[in-house]
């Protein structure tokens, strides 16, 4: 950075700096910007000065989701590498304007931050990326509250936020924002995809007992599963909200034993899920006979990292949904897995996959818009339909910024079936995109304006 701009930055800070940068950019590249009338307005860190495009990867590096965060970061680094040098899904993604030599002629670079799985810490970290490191887009995270907190900040500051792993309906429902995008699926889709399959496997006359993590994601997941299974003819016996910080679920499991339920639905994620699933198995809930049927355990949201934490002896035969799994055979997934394995020596998680895709999708939208101007990039992403990134043909719905794609229903493999440390999930069925597409109006919420006030 030149000395002059340093001084101006110090004295005037954000607003004046922006104006100055617009002027400087207009002088240095009149041809390019003159073509676009909208370029006159500075939003967030647009226009970019210099020849690098800075991305911010805000992932949990400490706390309960640190391993997922680490995997997300690996994927991000890989995505940056591919954007600059080609490779990976760049070869399979359609339609794609990505060149494999940067984005809009700029080299892609990145900064990282720690969300600590804490919305407040995540926002402070995101601010650093935005204010100091001048990122044009940021993303990541491994929980919905963190994603929602960040996408509100993103909208306020005019920086596009490409959410990482977040499964709550709220992210693209009542808390959706114009500047926030989600590639990951959500609780509603899980319900729609999973209910018919568990009804087929376990019968239509089942009595379900839910244990639900007492936070927003848990509530939306419970709600979705309840509606979807009841539509299949199941009865919901009871639901217990379990505190987010629980480690021992025995008191709730005892309540289930005391009831006449014959299916347990665990609306838990992360360590909650590992604990509740392990303990449910320990309480004999997969062998007991109730109402003349064998008791079953259902885990709506499955992830390979969680399965690893629980151990395959616990997860064998348990049904659930997942966004993506490394064993998928389509070209996009294979390209990603191959380059990930070549880089790190083991296959990526679904959190890594969604973060990788999000980065590419954003970069591609910039190429398609021909500018980094956020409102134009957002318009390109809205309603964008693509293929070749796993999960088949996928649509970024314009109304709520939610991706719609085929949903994978998986089953845990038994210790005997698995072929390696990471081979834990078996694909049972794929629910087509059309089936899981729901009306965006059911959750309410407002996207807000294209230009932050």
């Amino acid at each position: 950075m030149t000395k002059k701009s340093d001084v101006s930055k110090t004295v005037s800070r954000r607003s004046i700096l922006k104006a100055g940068a617009v002027g400087a950019a207009a002088m240095s590249a009149p041809m390019f910007y003159a073509r676009n009338a909208w370029a006159e307005k500075a939003i967030g860190n647009y226009p970019i000065s210099g020849d690098t495009m800075m991305l911010g990867f805000n992932v949990p590096q400490t706390g309960a989701y640190a391993d997922e965060g680490a995997d997300e970061l690996r994927a991000y680094k890989l995505a940056v590498k591919h954007l600059n040098n080609g490779g990976g899904m760049l070869e399979t993604m359609t339609p794609s304007k990505l060149t494999g030599s940067g984005v809009l002629g700029k080299k892609v670079d990145f900064v990282t931050g720690d969300t600590q799985t804490n919305p407040d810490a995540a926002r402070t970290s995101a601010r650093r990326m935005i204010e100091r490191d001048k990122v044009i887009m940021f993303g990541g995270g491994s929980s919905s509250s963190v994603a929602i907190a960040q996408q509100h900040l993103a909208h306020d500051l005019g920086i596009v936020f490409m959410a990482g792993l977040t499964h709550s309906n709220d992210t693209t429902g009542k808390d959706k924002r114009r500047y926030g995008f989600r590639h990951f699926f959500n609780a509603e889709m899980t319900g729609i995809a999973l209910a018919p399959i568990i009804a087929k496997e376990y019968g239509k006359d089942r009595r379900a007992f839910h244990l639900t993590a007492d936070y927003s994601w848990g509530h939306t997941q419970h709600d979705a599963m309840k509606r979807a299974t009841e539509a299949q003819g199941w009865t919901t016996v009871n639901n217990i909200m379990t505190p987010l910080k629980s480690t021992d679920f025995s008191q709730y499991l005892t309540a289930i034993l005391n009831s006449d339920a014959d299916v347990v639905v665990l609306n838990h994620y992360g360590k909650n899920m590992v604990n509740s699933l392990s303990q449910a198995v320990e309480f004999g809930m997969r062998e007991l006979q109730k109402n003349g049927k064998t008791m079953e355990v259902v885990v709506p949201l499955f992830s390979r990292l969680m399965a690893q934490g629980a151990g395959s002896s616990k997860i064998q035969g348990v049904l659930g949904t997942t966004n993506w799994n490394w064993s998928l055979q389509d070209a996009g997934s294979q390209a990603f897995v191959k380059s990930f394995e070549a880089e790190y020596g083991f296959p990526p998680s679904m959190a890594a996959h969604t973060c990788y895709c999000q980065t590419l999708l954003y970069a591609n939208a910039c190429e398609m818009a021909g500018t980094f101007y956020p409102p134009e990039v957002i318009k390109q992403l809205e309603g964008f339909e693509f293929d070749g990134m796993g999960n088949g043909k996928t649509l970024y719905r314009a109304e709520d910024h939610q991706c719609f794609k085929d949903i994978l229903v998986v089953k845990g493999k038994s210790p005997a079936e698995k072929t390696g440390e990471f081979d834990l999930l078996e694909l049972v069925d794929t629910t087509p995109r059309e089936t899981v597409t729901y009306d965006h109006k059911i959750f309410g919420g407002e996207l807000g304006s294209y230009e932050p006030s």
């Binding site: 590096q61 720690d114 402070t124 601010r127 100091r132 929602i148 907190a149 306020d156």
Partner: protein, 326 residues
């Protein structure tokens, strides 16, 4: 305090004001960024108030987040449902925080030592659970209280960036001035006597219970103002504001900086946030480990925190020069 004749002890308020007001202009040269400076001031304000409780009376509260959080929610709800004008929001928030302080203080201040700490922790955790679960229709649960498209204003002036910074700075400087007044007042003297020998104080004709409650409430008012400023700075309320770890962080800041010195806890707050958000970046995943080690080292070798460190440095270098002068 100490009898040193440094410039700071001669002109504490002007020098403090100078540092605070110039802070955003040099902060960027040490890796800081806009926004973090404001956050540092807000935490410093809370740490300053906390020192009136911990530093003066010696009561270690693990529930100070209550006042920060409750006031943050009150401010958030006011901004969202009433008006983006911050005066009524702050006013209501501080009132709510103060009422809360009287209630919690009245019940917990009857106990001392660890029993007091645990009682405050218990109240804090109950409120946090309520915000997360029972009251989530009001608080937004773990998603936090989102306040979309509300831009807080003070008399029509939008509070963001530098204007927000200077609002926080003005309040902090006033807060520091008042804290110093309290420290040197008869009231402050009696608060310090509580830490020194509570039994003697009771047999000296002082209604210790009332003074303790007074100190607790004053300290809580600082936290309430800080909580309110936090939401004005960023119109969003995280449930973490009510979590015991917020109180815990406050304790760590105070101890790192130097309990009972007023300036120390503020330095501690600045250091913590600077470390967490700037120094942590190159350290990556290990930053918390490094912070833990630094924290342990300070407790072991510098029980008086940074302020003791400064005093030792001063002693080593300035005493020498004093001798030479003599």
């Amino acid at each position: 305090m100490n009898k040193s004749t440094s410039i700071f002890s001669k002109y504490p308020i002007p020098i403090f004001s100078l540092v605070v007001l110039s802070f955003p202009f040099w902060f960027e040269y040490i890796g800081g960024y806009p926004g973090l400076d404001t956050k540092i001031l807000i935490w410093a304000l809370m740490a300053l108030g906390f020192d009136i409780l911990l530093g003066f009376t010696g009561y270690l509260s693990f529930g100070h987040a209550i006042f920060f959080g409750v006031s943050a929610y009150a401010t958030g709800l006011m901004l969202k449902h009433f008006s983006p004008e911050i005066i009524p929001a702050m006013f209501i928030a501080v009132i709510v925080g103060t009422i809360m302080a009287f209630a919690v203080g009245y019940l917990t201040m009857k106990r001392s030592g660890i029993y007091f700490s645990i009682l405050t922790l218990a109240f804090g955790e109950m409120l946090n659970s309520a915000a997360l679960s029972t009251l989530q229709d009001i608080t937004g649960g773990d998603n936090g209280l989102t306040i979309p498209d509300v831009k807080p204003v003070l008399f029509g002036i939008r509070m963001d960036g530098l204007s927000m910074y200077f609002l926080a700075a003005a309040i902090l400087i006033l807060g520091y001035y008042l804290a110093r007044r309290i420290a040197t007042s008869p009231f402050g003297l009696i608060l310090k006597a509580i830490k020194s020998n509570q039994e003697r104080l009771e047999y000296t004709g002082i209604d210790v219970q009332k003074y303790k409650l007074g100190g607790f409430v004053i300290s809580a008012i600082y936290a309430s103002i800080a909580g309110s400023l936090m939401v004005i700075y960023e119109p969003y309320v995280a449930t973490e504001y009510l979590h015991w770890s917020t109180s815990g962080e406050l304790v760590i800041m105070s101890v790192m900086g130097g309990v009972g010195t007023l300036v120390g806890p503020m330095i501690g707050a600045a250091f913590m946030l600077y470390f967490e958000n700037v120094l942590s970046v190159p350290l990556g995943e290990e930053w918390l480990l490094v912070l833990g080690i630094i924290f342990m080292a300070i407790v072991i070798f510098l029980p008086g925190g940074f302020m003791e460190g400064l005093a030792r440095i001063k002693k080593r270098y300035f005493n020498k020069s004093n001798k030479e002068e003599k």
